[in-house]
Amino acid sequence: MRGARASRAGLVAAALLAGVLPVAAQEECAATGSAGVALSGAALRSDLAGGDAAEGIELGVEGRLAGGGFTLSAGLQHATFDGAAARPLSGRLRITRPVARLLGVTFCAAGLMGGASVAAGEDEAWTVAGGLAVVGARQVPTGGFVLVPYVGVRGLGARSTGNILGQDFAATGAALGVEAGVGLARERIAGALRFSADGLDPGLGPMPYPSLALRLVAGWRL
């Protein structure tokens, strides 16, 4: 009994440090020696200081390479917010490794790193963010498809610097985030629908991990 509690406590601890991989976790964790490329489109919501929010869209490309039990994935995104002149450019880098399997669910640990920059006129700002994530995913074969629902949490830290309206600033924050979605694969075609929510302070500006994102990904497995 005490051992079961300890394992649950460990799971809790892992979950609190974890985040969700932005593509189907089990695919990445299980796949070795594979690679892929994808295009992504997302609807974004980025909270602002006054309780309002900037809403916009994001287009991006993603690539993935797996080997030796690790999967490395990277993405580059370009966002456009309604009515705003600034168009942030952001990138994400992620390395994952499966760490456990329990009741058919694969748990992966991940390291996350990202950055963003935005400029408009004389205003400019940069953000770096990073953290740890854990995701649980289960592969569900359905007809000729493989469905991979997944969910997980991540802990993030971020720092922004820049000069806006003539004012230099530097700000730091940390937050928890959650991501859930479903991956879909058939032969060489792969896709995913992902929803994420991250609580980094709106004062940190454009993020590789925005307040809310609903992202659709489609690509090829090589």
Partner: protein
């Protein structure tokens, strides 16, 4: 925690994070959100966290703004401390508010070209304690389930003491202890009896006022004070069945001097005088009361026999406005007690504000002018007797309002009884009456005859959230006659931007705060208090303000307005 409870808990935690403190938190609003462009005179109103991060765009031309944070909370809420800073802002100090400095305005505002009046510091500490004592000692004596007389029938008041109409020379004893339990009896001699007043003088008064003075007070009460007050506030009760109100000039009022050094109590009314000597179904007994509609007035004391010296001329000048002021208190309390069967007396801030409205109404009646005319100096100077009427009846209101304008953050229209509070409350009530579009005698009649008190009573009369109207009023305090704004942000009756510079104040005394980039201005806002940070937009063509309360987002009670002024 069971395993299946874990995930919901994590979901709840997701989205939580640390807050970025300081002005940086709002900067990204000008990068990621569509900037707001306002026309001159246009207002954007926000609440809570939305007070910060509003990105304002100049729109190609030099633009100036004032941000007006208003602490819209119940008067018993504590003060709200906020810090205001801006990025992309330039401090501005030109018109319409050329001076951010705030020397104290004079204690007696008079119009340009008229001789100065002696400064009078009213002893509001005594007044405040009096109103509080009424609520503390007398409200528990109200029996809320019982009716005193049929509501709405002003002719059927209960007689708690029947007295014949007195005659000149009659002597009567009055308890001036302002207590249901203690006695301090003074003998008064009836000096004049008019249709609506009995003027009584304490036989122990110092020599000074004459028979002609008493006649003047009685006749003026009949021809000016009573008609104006009854029309706007309602008929007072007549519990002593003499058909009149007693105006008692007594040295007992002079003896009150000393509560605050140099301060004077010009007169007062005490609700205990309206309570019965023996309990009735409506009210428990207040044996120490005089069972009469009456008020107590300062008397002349040219030699300073009783206390500070008060000349006959000073009493002649000051008495009528004070009678009008106290008569509102009398009508308000008597109708709550015996006509409207209210469960409480009016809250002091609103009660005093209404009495200062009474003084203003006397000005209109005396001058022949009317509310809603945006009176400026030329209009007053061009109207016979208007300047004298202004100095006599409006000098107090303009003095008090100037005091409020000098400290609009730490003062409040709902604050404790003080000069700035009275000035703000009077000004707000005038604004509200004008904005309501209803005639004064309808608007104030409803307000005085409410059965509730304070904000609740005000809300019932307005038919709207009174705090929202107060927020709009704070905009009018700055914008009226300075910026072309919607009617909701105008003060239709007075042109303060013209009158103050043409008075002994010499300038429009609103305290504004020039806000420059890098400044962090701290404001301690009382409930009902407001600030006026003012700024232009610098070379970036955009600006954003950041507002914090206690290091975090402002609470919902902070209702702010952004007004473009140029």
């Amino acid at each position: 925690m069971r395993a299946h409870h874990l995930f919901p808990a994590v979901l709840l935690l997701a989205g939580c994070g640390t807050d970025v403190a300081g002005p940086a938190a709002s900067l990204f609003s000008c990068l990621l959100a569509e900037p707001v462009q306002l026309d001159v005179g246009e207002v954007v109103q926000v609440a809570g966290a939305a007070n910060r991060g509003l990105c304002l765009e100049a729109g190609g031309a030099a633009a100036e703004f004032v941000y007006i944070p208003f602490h819209g909370d119940a008067k018993d809420a504590g003060p709200l401390r906020i810090e205001v800073s801006g990025a992309g802002v330039d401090a501005v100090d030109g018109p319409p508010s050329p001076s951010p400095v705030r020397p104290e305005p004079p204690l007696a505002v008079t119009l340009r070209g008229t001789p100065p009046r002696p400064p009078v510091l009213l002893d509001l500490e005594f007044h405040r304690r009096l109103r509080e004592r009424e609520r503390r000692e007398l409200e528990p004596r109200l029996r809320t389930g019982a009716t005193g007389s049929p509501a709405g029938d002003p002719d059927r008041f209960p007689a708690v003491r029947t007295t014949a109409v007195p005659e000149v020379g009659d002597l009567a004893s009055y308890n001036v202890a302002i207590s249901c339990d203690r006695s301090d009896d003074r003998t008064g001699r009836v000096e004049y009896v008019s249709d609506r007043a009995v003027v009584v003088a304490d036989v122990a008064n110092p020599a000074g006022l004459t028979e002609a003075d008493y006649r003047h007070f009685g006749e003026t009460f009949d021809t000016l004070v009573d008609p104006v007050a009854v029309r706007h506030f309602g008929q007072p009760t007549d519990i002593d069945e003499n058909g009149r109100s007693i105006i008692f000039f007594t040295r007992a009022v002079n003896e009150l001097a000393g509560t605050v050094v140099g301060a004077v109590t010009a007169g007062f009314f005490w609700s205990g005088d309206l309570f019965p000597e023996e309990a009735t179904p409506r009210a428990e007994a207040c044996p120490g009361g005089n069972q009469a509609e009456m008020f107590y007035m300062l008397t002349a004391d040219p030699q300073g026999e009783v206390g500070p010296a008060y000349s006959v001329e000073f009493i002649r000048e000051a008495t009528i406005p004070v009678i009008g002021h106290e008569y509102q208190h009398l009508i308000n309390a008597s109708r709550r007690l015996w006509v409207n069967n209210a469960s409480e007396f009016e809250e002091p801030w609103l009660n005093e504000g209404l009495s200062h409205v009474a003084e203003e109404l006397l000005f209109y009646a005396r001058s022949g002018l009317a509310p809603g005319a945006n009176l400026g100096y030329d209009a007053l100077a061009g109207t016979p007797s208007a300047v004298d009427a202004f100095n006599q009846f409006m000098g107090g209101n303009f003095t008090n309002y100037a005091r409020y304008l000098g400290r609009p953050d730490t003062a409040s229209l709902m604050g404790i009884d003080a000069l700035p509070t009275r000035g703000a409350t009077w000004n707000f009530l005038r604004y509200a009456a004008d904005r309501s579009g209803r005639p004064d005698d309808e608007f104030f009649l409803q307000l005085v005859n409410g059965r509730t008190a304070g904000l609740e009573n005000l809300g019932e009369t307005l038919g709207a959230d009174p705090l929202a109207w107060m927020r709009d009023w704070t905009v009018s305090v700055y914008a009226d006659d300075a910026v072309p704004v919607d009617a909701a942000y105008r003060q239709a009756s007075w042109n303060f931007r013209d009158l103050y510079p043409n008075s002994s104040v010499g300038r429009f005394p609103l305290r504004v705060i020039p806000l420059a980039a890098g400044d962090v201005e701290t404001l301690l806002l009382q409930p009902g208090g407001a600030g006026f940070p003012r700024f232009g937009i610098g070379g970036a063509d955009k600006a954003v303000l950041h507002v914090e309360a206690g290091g975090g987002a402002p609470p919902a009670a902070l209702r702010g307005s952004f007004l473009r002024t140029r």
